[in-house]
Symmetry: C2
Subunit: 157 residues, 2 copies
């Protein structure tokens, strides 16, 4: 059975499901507070994508497009995607859902930057993500990994 | 016995001790590679501070000063510190070493921003750090917590 990657609608049900993910954080709390206060304008631009198993959200990620003028990672400088909070609920791991989300992100054809937990670097290598040359001013405290589509390479500083 | 917070000298011994910390990442690997290649120029500006128990490094953090012109968190806009990778080795937790490092960071009198694991928010609240109003463009995927010295408040956007 093939499950689809979907852009997530932000509503009380989705926000409740988000609580099951380890990387639940300030972003989700802020969306919940806005929802409770009936301020919903921002959530049309929710950057979350996910996979449902039946009506249960079992995997998610956030994708956010960065404008070329802020690009310090890719050459030629261009719009790229930041991928955060990739996570598959533990009962559903090892079934390819993480890869499915990453493949979906790649399908936009833009370079991708992510900043994963150090322990997950093996996964990202399998996804063909590469380490950048660490630069303290740019990468402060992060462990950036990037994916280069064809014709794109690292920016030299 | 009072242990001191020290600015860490980056050398092979320190880099070896860093491997015991969970947040060992690209930054440390990059320093190690530079060291092995005898490129040491950058490490005079190492942003690491730590606490030794005897000759064993048991706690560390990284402090990096951000220039006022990049300040999007504090009002009035000013130089501030980013604090990353605060960590106490597990055998030495619960003895106040984390607080000692944070107090050391505060002693510079500059505002501080950190982006901790969600699970550690209780600790940061005790340190008088506050949540910011999450802004997607600025805080992408982070959970920023900040500390305001007297006379400093949140920047409004």
């Amino acid at each position: 059975m093939g499950l689809k990657v979907e852009k997530l609608k932000i509503n009380f049900k989705t926000l409740e499901e988000f609580k099951k993910f380890k990387e639940y954080g300030l972003q989700e709390l802020s969306m919940l507070e806005d929802f409770q206060a009936n301020i919903v304008e921002d959530h049309n631009v929710s950057p979350f994508y996910g996979i449902y198993f039946g009506d249960k959200l079992i995997a998610r990620m956030s994708l956010y497009q960065i404008d070329a003028k802020f690009d310090r990672y890719f050459y030629p400088p261009q719009n790229y995607l930041e991928l955060w909070k990739l996570e598959v609920l533990s009962d559903y791991q090892g079934k390819g859902y993480g890869k499915q989300l990453v493949d979906f992100a790649k399908s936009f054809g833009l370079p991708i930057k992510t900043n994963p937990r150090v322990q997950s670097h093996g996964f990202w290598e399998k996804m063909n993500f590469s380490k950048v040359d660490y630069e303290m001013e740019r990468d402060r405290g992060e462990n950036p990994l990037v994916w280069y589509p064809e014709g794109v390479e690292a920016q030299q500083h």
